[in-house]
Structures are given as C-alpha cells and as structure tokens.
Symmetry: C2
C-alpha cells in the first residue's frame, strides 16, 4: 500500500488510502533534524540577541554616568588592597587568620555614594561592637551558671535578642537609619554567643572580628572619599535643580502644545514630546530623594556643603516640585482629553496663558540656576514680579469672558433664528479653564512656600 521513490535526491512517501480512490503525498516537513537544527539556531540567535541587548544596555549605563564605571574600579582596587592581608605573611598573622572578615566587609559595605558607605560602615562597626560586648557578657554569665544551664541561657538570650532586634527594624526611625546596624547586631551576637560554646578564647574572636571590620571599613572609606568621591549630598542638590529644569521644560511644552494651532498638532516630533514628559521623572523622585537625603546626613562637609547642611529642606522642595508635577499631569490630561474648549475662548486666553507659562518657567529655571550656583541674584525678583503681573493679566482676561460669552451666545442665537437650523453650542466644554487657572495657584504657593 505504500511505495516510495527517489525524487530529486530525496524520498517521497506516497500513501494509498484504503478505498483506493486517491493517494496522498506525504511531504516530510523539512525533516526532523532540520527542524531541530533550526530550533537550535533560533535559540542560539535569541540568546546572542539577548546578550547583545544586555551589553548595549550596560554600555548605555556606563556612557550615561561614567562615575558608575569609576565606582566599579574603586571596588576592585579596595578588594585587591584588602587581599594583601592574605598575601603578606606578617599582615595575615597580625589579624589572626580572620582576614576573611575584612574582605567580607569591603564587599558588603562599599556603596555607590560616600554617605551610604559611611552609614553602612558606622552601622556595621557599632552593631558589631555592641553585640560583641553583650555576647561576651552573656557568655560569662552563662559559663558561671554551670554546664547544665549554659546552653539554655545562651539559646534563650539569642532568641530574645534576635526577636527584639528584628522587631526594632520595623520601627520607622530605626528602619531609616539603623536597619543595617540592627541586622549586624543580630548576626554578631548569634555568631559570638553560639561560637562561645565551642571556642575557648571568645574575647579574641570578638576582638579580631571587630578589628578586621575596622580595617575593611576604613579601607572602603578612604578609597571612597579620596578617589573621585561621589557625594550623596551633591547628587541630591543637583537632582533637585535638574527637576526644576525638567518642570520648566514640561510646563512650556504642555501649555504650548495646548494652544498650538490644531493644524500643527500632528507635527509634534518625538523629541519634543519626550522633552515635555520630563515631569514624569519628578512624579517618581520621592524614593530617591529620601534615600539621598538619608545618606547625605552621614557625610562630612564637602565642597560648598557643610556637615550640618539642612538636607531635610531639600525634601520639602522636592515635595513642592512634586505638587507642581501633579498639576502638570492634570494639565496634560486636558491636552489628551477628547473634550476641548471652544476656539474663541482658546484664542482669547492663548496670549496671556502663554505669557504666564513663559514667566513661570523662567522663574523655575532661575530657581534651578540659583540652586546650582548657590548664589541669589536679583533676576529672580524681577522674574517673580513679571510672573505676578502675568497672573493679574490672566485674571483680567478671565473676567472678560462673560461678556465674550454673551456676544458669542447672541451671535449664535441670531444665527439660529436666521438660519433656523441646529446650532452648536459655543461653550459645551469649558475644560480649558483649569489649564490656565491651576497654574498661578500652584506657582504662587511654590514661590511663597
């Protein structure tokens, strides 16, 4: 029932169906091996594509902020230096073979900014010292109370202290500043207290651990502060200034887009659209601002920032900027809305609104400039005065809307009477008003606040 013959170098399988009425040619679907091969090639190509994308992304990260590359090199240097404790016999014997802890410390506490590194190293040193002292004390008490009670006392102390220290990590104050210290406290206490059961010279263990941590920590701090230091405070400072600039650009773009002639509306290029979406970064900047402010308070004085620089004020400015960004988000909603204000109101308000926007964004840009240079100029006062005048102009323009409406309504009524046909209502959707009205309120509160 089945016959096969060579066809053009391959095999053709022909099946005659039982009733003999027809026969079907079974074309091998390009061969099992070929399919497997194609699958493998596809897989490999997919992996290559993914790996390439990964490296492209990595390259972008490096090009975007070369300081990150510098940080990685610093980590490498710190590890290489600390590993000298292994390679040089006198150093190795000096720390009693616990050089491992120095390596561990470097890997764990070397963070991107100086503040974060300082925060972690101080937390680690303090946590280790407190826990070590406490564990040695508990161990002494336990060893005095006989062989039977010793493990019970140690184990219950570990349980109680670990439980309460873990709980303390949920309390906001501790979580913000001493989270890592609390973890290290639990770690060291457990290690020292439990090891005490097996190790005789417990005091030496605790002391060696502390000294290697101090060596590793000071190595990190030196490298982090002396070679191209990255200060959290400075980063926060410029982040806030950059956010002001982004808001100014977004504001200009957003209002400009709204009052643009409808014919031009389709011609917005991707570049400018991307530019005026900058306020979205501001919307989500809370977490990074708080982290930076938290680290900045640990940093010593640097550049134009003293030790007790009022970092908390940056958070307040950040909150004000976010309020502005919420406002721009609402304005943006008006642009994308299907409901639009009638043309004559738009025309009536276009000039004053653009004027106000331009003055507001000048104020923001001036604020950004002042923040960056940390020098107050008189230009800001003039800009604010101009902005206030623009607000007044807008109010005047808004006041004159009712008469405009009456004129337009009367026109419509006349047309309706004359032409006796359905008229379109000129003020179906007065949505455009928020666009202009919300601005002065927010900007004034921003300037006054």
């Amino acid at each position: 029932m089945v016959n096969n013959k060579a066809v053009s170098g391959g095999l053709e399988w022909r099946v005659r169906v039982a009733d003999g009425s027809s026969s079907a040619v079974l074309v091998p679907e390009s061969g099992i091996f070929q399919r497997i091969w194609q699958g493998i090639v596809g897989l490999v190509l997919g992996i290559i594509r993914k790996v390439r994308n990964f490296f492209v992304k990595a390259w972008d990260v490096g090009v975007d902020d070369p300081r990150k590359v510098m940080h990685c090199l610093k980590v490498g240097v710190a590890l290489t230096v600390v590993s000298l404790f292994y390679y040089m016999r006198p150093l190795y014997e000096g720390v009693g073979g616990t050089a491992m802890w120095a390596v561990l410390t470097v890997v764990v506490i070397f963070e991107y900014t100086v503040g974060a590194t300082l925060c972690k190293s101080l937390n680690r040193a303090t946590g280790t010292f407190l826990a070590g002292a406490l564990a040695v004390g508990v161990h002494w008490v336990a060893s005095q109370s006989g062989e039977r009670f010793e493990p019970i006392i140690i184990r219950s102390s570990v349980f109680i202290l670990a439980t309460s220290a873990t709980f303390s990590r949920f309390i906001p104050v501790v979580k913000a500043r001493f989270d890592y210290g609390a973890m290290i406290f639990i770690l060291t206490f457990s290690l020292v207290a439990i090891s005490g059961y097996r190790v005789d010279n417990l005091f030496d263990l605790a002391q060696e651990r502390l000294s290697t941590i101090v060596i590793g920590g000071s190595m990190c701090l030196l490298i982090s502060m002396l070679i191209c230091p990255i200060w959290a405070g400075q980063d926060l400072h410029f982040l806030v200034a950059r956010n002001m600039e982004k808001l100014a650009t977004s504001l200009d773009g957003c209002v400009g887009e709204y009052f643009k002639d409808s014919e031009d509306a389709l011609e917005i290029d991707e570049e400018s659209r991307k530019n005026f979406q900058g306020y979205k970064c501001v919307l989500n900047s809370k977490a990074s601002e708080e982290a930076l402010a938290n680290f900045a308070r640990w940093e010593p004085g640097h550049g134009r920032f003293s030790f007790r620089h009022p970092w908390k004020q940056y958070l307040k400015i950040g909150a004000s900027l976010r309020s502005c960004a919420y406002c721009i988000e609402a304005l943006n909603g008006c642009i994308n809305s299907e409901i639009l204000a009638p043309e004559f109101i738009k025309e009536h308000l276009s000039g004053v609104s653009m004027q106000l926007t331009s003055h507001s964004s000048t104020v923001l840009k001036e604020l950004a400039h002042i923040t960056k240079t940390m020098r107050r100029t008189s230009t800001l006062d003039f800009a604010i005065e101009d902005m206030k005048n623009a607000v007044q102009d807008l109010h005047d323009a808004l006041k004159s809307i009712p008469s405009q409406l009456i004129t337009s309504q009367l026109q419509v009524d006349e047309e309706a009477l004359l032409q006796e046909k359905k008229t379109t209502d000129p003020i179906t959707q007065p949505t455009s008003i928020p666009l202009i009205e919300v601005l002065p309120t927010y900007y004034c509160s921003f300037i006054n606040g």
Copy 2:
C-alpha cells in the same frame, strides 16, 4: 570690701563698689549645684521621654500589624534551630565546623515576605555556586602556572570579576532581580579565590560553604512558608484593593467638602479630614507596589494565586490609581484655593457633581470589592452605567451655564445701573469647573483602561 551675713538660712553676698556710692547684692542664681542637678534631671527626663516615645511607637507598630511580631518570633525560632548545629556534636562535625555560615545565612536572608526570602535565598545559593565553581577553576589554572604567576592571576581575576559584577548591579534588569546574587558572587569569589592561597583543601571549603548555605536557606524557607506565611503577592493584591477604597473615600470627601455650605466649612472634624487625605498614600505607593510585585513573582502558588499569576498587571492598575490620585490632588488644590467660583454656578452644578462623585466612588468601591473577592458581579456594570449617565447629566448642566451667566450678568448690569455703585463681577474665577470636569475623563479612562 565684701561682707556676708546669714539671710533666711542662706548666705547673702554684698559687694561694695570701689567709689563707695552704692552696694550691689549678689544673689546666687539658685546655686551652681542646683543648676547642674536641674540640668541632669532635665536630661534624664528627656531621655526617659524619648525612650517612652520609642516604645509607644514600637507598640503601635506591633498593634498595627501583629504579623510583624509573628515574623520576629519566626526569626528567633530559625536562629535557635540553626544553632543546634553547634550544640549537637554529630551535626557540628557533619558540616566540618562551618556551622557559622548557616547562622549567617539565616540572619541575612530571612525577610518579611516569603517572596523576598525566596528571592534572597535563591540569589545567595546561585551566586555562591557560580562563584565557588569559577573560583575553584581559576585557582586550578593559577596553581598550574607556577608560584610566580599564581598571586598575579588570582589577584587580577578578583579585580576583573569584582569590577564587572559590581557594574552589572547598575543594570536595571540585574538590579531589580539579582542585585543580592551579584553581591554574593563577588563575596564568594573573593573569599574562595583569595583563601585558596592559604587553604589547601579549597574544594572542601567551597563545598562546605555551599552546603551550610543550603541548610540555612532551606530552614528559612520552611519556617517562612509553613508558620503563618506572609505572601508578598497577597499583600500586593490587598494593597491595590485598599488603595481603590481610599480613593473612593477621598473623592467623596473632597467633592463633598467643596460643595458644602460655607457656614459648615469650619466644622470639618479632624477625623473626616484625615479620612479624605487617604489618596496621599496612593500617590506614594509606587515603590512598595514594585517591590511587592518583584517579590511576588518568586513565590509558588498560594491561596487563589497560581505560580504565574499576572503580577505585572497590578502595577498597571497601580499606575491608573495614581493617575486618579493626581487628579484628586488637583481637586484638593481647588478646595484650598483662595479663588472660588461664584455661588450661583456652584449651586447650579452641586447636585449633578455630587451625583457623579457618588457614582464614581461606588464604581471604585465595587472594583475594590471585586478585586478582594476575585468574583465579577453584575453590580459593577450597573454602577458603570449609572456613572456614565451622571457624566451625561453633568455635561448637560455645563451646557446650560452660558444662559445662566447671561441672566446673572444682566442682573448685575441692572443693579449697577440702578444703584450706581461698584459691583462685584460674578464670574471672576471660574475655577470650580475643573473640579467637576476632570473627573469623568479620568474615571472613564480608568474604567476603559
């Protein structure tokens, strides 16, 4: 020149000034010791107050979420169990004295949610395994290349791998999921590669470290999953539902507050004000939502959530909810604004606006209920239909504003003519309009999106 006499049981110091014209009484300023004593008492009282506040806060944290207390107990139990490796000789000898790593693993990877614990333990195990294998390989190569090149090869491999692994932590994909794994990779590689210079049985070291990590990790996972598990996925699910409810309450409160009679305005109690500020939590929920979604994807199926539950969708819902929250923030700005809409427009729109708000918040509450119960009901469709009708009603009400304006403007003009005095313009500030207009746009986009 100086005489003293007893005055009412104390001493009075009298100084005669050189010219003899007058004498001044030196009253001891309540005594130096007394002042020091008062200072000490003040300090102690201050410390006691701070400590009491700290414990009050801690108590609140515990009462607010008893699962946190449970988590702390679980950590305590895990540590106690793992410390058995020290107390039982066969166990201690089984892991070759490296029981320390098990304790360390438990302290470091036991996190609040199952997802976070799983993420950390898998990261730790994988990082340790990869780095251990690589380090043993590098060490073998180094040992083959003679005593002179051995430290050079090892040190440069540590430098290169530490630098590149640190860099990989900046790449968003790695940062979100494998940050901890990358750190552990650097840690283990450095430790094993560098120790190799001093330790002979390197393979044993790597293997012991891995096995203790596996013991510690599986202990954490068992306790975390079996005793009162806290699932990141479930938390995310209820967080999103709770945010919907908060938005509904805020919306009701905000619009209700706006349209309240001005006489009642002063009588807002703190409780209701606090209630309708709930949307502020939604504004800042991005970071916690992303963290929870990130951990949830590591979790196995639990409750009504399968392993591949679409956790990313929650982030989209969260983004929509935040858009609504931005909008409520803008509405809230209108309430606090000094510029208010004229009374007659407020009255004209009050009914329809309240209607729309009530329907919108019903929809939100219904959505929250559906999310919580994971059961679709037909009530939602009716609620959405009602909301759409309310939007239409509002549009109709807005359409009729121009004629209202004309009437009111004519009245004003007449009054001005009759009384010949300065009139207040009835439509100085049409700010109330955004309050009602922005709502339907956002809610419709929320429902459709």
